[in-house]
Symmetry: C2
Subunit: 339 residues, 2 copies
């Protein structure tokens, strides 16, 4: 790519410019045998067992932020949606909506990041699409990734959380709020002494380790938009159990806590892009915690609460000063375009 090149409307035309962009950029970085066939669909090698399908569009603003960019976010988001469903992420599609005039060098940087993240996670980008809209009709670029994975044997119950019982423990794999505050600091160009980096990461390796205790894992969800608080509020919504959450046990970095206080956010509702919340059987909680702590993405894993009989349908936070308050689903939007 030449330095001065930008995206033209013709790159989305389906004609020669589209053809060149596909060959010189997407196929070059995403290169794999399935993608190379370039039919209207990708023909996947036989997948054994039950298949999971997921989709996510990414509109994060800004597109580059400390710890990543929209590219690895788009890979991690979809990989994680499959992994928390108890599936092995295998194949991804990548669809780009580009604004006319977008710098080709930025696009290349993002595509390169996507390729690296996909390779780390062991998934293949096998099909794609590119549309270009006129200047001012979208904000730089939006990416959709959809993903196909194979459900691991005996994982059917995890998605719906059907086997959750009173006394089950809640685990998270580390610090909350990093992604949201990293994007906020980039968005507002904040000068911070100890800058926050996004936790954006593919969790399929960590989750695969934890799934050695598959029968003890009742539910998993990645705490993205809406944060940990929304996951827990949703988890017990209309259910015959409540959740007890211990504020002291929830890992929050000092700089994230500081930024949240400064800007008026509650870390419980700030987005993460590399955090999985698990509900696990009490008797296996410590073993699962231990195995997660051995993984680079789970060093700070912690048991942060439990499923309780009282207050069915509600999540209660026990604050560090001994208070109690309900963790509700937020009505509106704390941080638009965080992912």
């Amino acid at each position: 790519m030449k330095n001065n090149e930008t995206v033209l409307l013709g790159h989305g035309s389906g004609g020669r410019l589209s053809h060149d962009l596909i060959h010189n950029l997407f196929v070059r970085y995403f290169r794999n045998d399935i993608l190379l066939i370039q039919g209207d669909s990708a023909v996947l090698p036989v997948i054994h067992g039950t298949i999971c399908l997921t989709t996510d569009s990414f509109v994060v603003d800004p597109i580059f932020f400390p710890g990543g960019n929209i590219g690895n976010l788009a890979i991690a988001g979809t990989v994680n949606d499959l992994a928390v469903s108890g599936a092995k992420p295998e194949y991804l599609s990548a669809a780009f909506i580009l604004e006319e005039g977008f710098p080709m060098s930025d696009l290349e940087e993002i595509v390169k990041t996507m390729a690296e993240e996909a390779s780390k996670a062991g998934v293949f980008i096998v099909t794609g699409d590119t549309k270009v809209v006129e200047r001012g009709k979208c904000d730089k670029l939006f990416i959709n990734t959809s993903g196909v994975g194979s459900l691991l044997p005996d994982s059917e119950g995890i998605i719906a959380g059907k086997n959750i019982k009173i006394g089950d423990k809640i685990i998270i794999n580390g610090f909350i709020g990093d992604h949201g505050m990293a994007v906020m600091s980039a968005r507002n160009n904040l000068q911070i002494n100890s800058p926050v980096e996004s936790d954006c990461a593919c969790l399929n390796g960590l989750i695969s380790d934890a799934l050695q205790f598959k029968s003890a894992i009742k539910f998993m969800r990645d705490a993205t938009r809406g944060g940990l608080g929304t996951v827990l509020a949703e988890l017990c919504h209309h259910k015959p159990f409540g959740i007890n959450l211990l504020e002291e046990a929830v890992p929050v970095r000092e700089n994230v806590r500081g930024m949240c206080e400064l800007l008026g956010f509650d870390p419980l509702y700030v987005a993460n892009e590399g955090k999985v919340v698990m509900v696990v059987a009490a008797e296996s909680a410590n073993s699962i915690l231990h195995i997660m702590q051995q993984h680079p993405l789970g060093k700070e894993s912690a048991i942060i609460g439990e499923i309780m009989e009282h207050h069915a349908g509600k999540t209660w936070l026990l604050t560090s000063i001994g208070g109690k308050r309900i963790v509700d689903m937020p009505a509106g939007e704390q941080l638009p375009r965080i992912c």
Copy 2:
């Protein structure tokens, strides 16, 4: 939905507004057992055989046009990408990027159209995503649909067109250019005596009929962006054969021809959303044509050309006045945002 409601940033937050939108709109219209589980991924019933995956984002402007809207376009586009690959379209994802302030009644109309089109095509929308961006940061709404289908037995060769031979015939299932001119007339608010309607339609039924002659079908592609001309130019690009296209045989409606002349477009490059181009063995061409003509979406099917030995890598158009010209891939963009 109340008439005065509009999309708010909070509808993309992952919180309560998102939750309500999903339940009251998407789940209500797309309703099926798989979607209702609402995990991070959809768990699909066992699919036998090889799986195909495809993705497409839709950014058509305007979003409502004669003969359809962005909703049925998003379903037909992805269904057709699977069908022309020799796959049975089965499950779709639907991801929405919405502009803050977009009328909820328009969104409902579009979602309703998607549900109807999916039902007609016999596919299920099993998972989705909604993002909202601030006013002015996207143009009303963009939709991504990704799709999973099962490759029909003995269809492996169709995607790559590996079995194409000299003498094979080229078939199209009817009039070209309808979609492009319908969108153009809506975009420019043209007052035309005989208005053009988009040909937007799911072709899986028609293609399934034609596949009774599966061994004779060498290649299929839906002629969308870039039109029939681009499909043919791409088909023989770097191949050891050329294509002979007979202008007189290519079906073009009078009003489409008129609009193209008026506006300076070549119908060969105008987008279709319900047209499949097939390369078939000469000896079965008439039988396939006959069976296609029995289908409501194939009444005007025609043999429009053939694979030739000369001029390898090029498509030649024999014009109705006896001239000859090369049909090349268009460099730039004839009609931005046609799909």
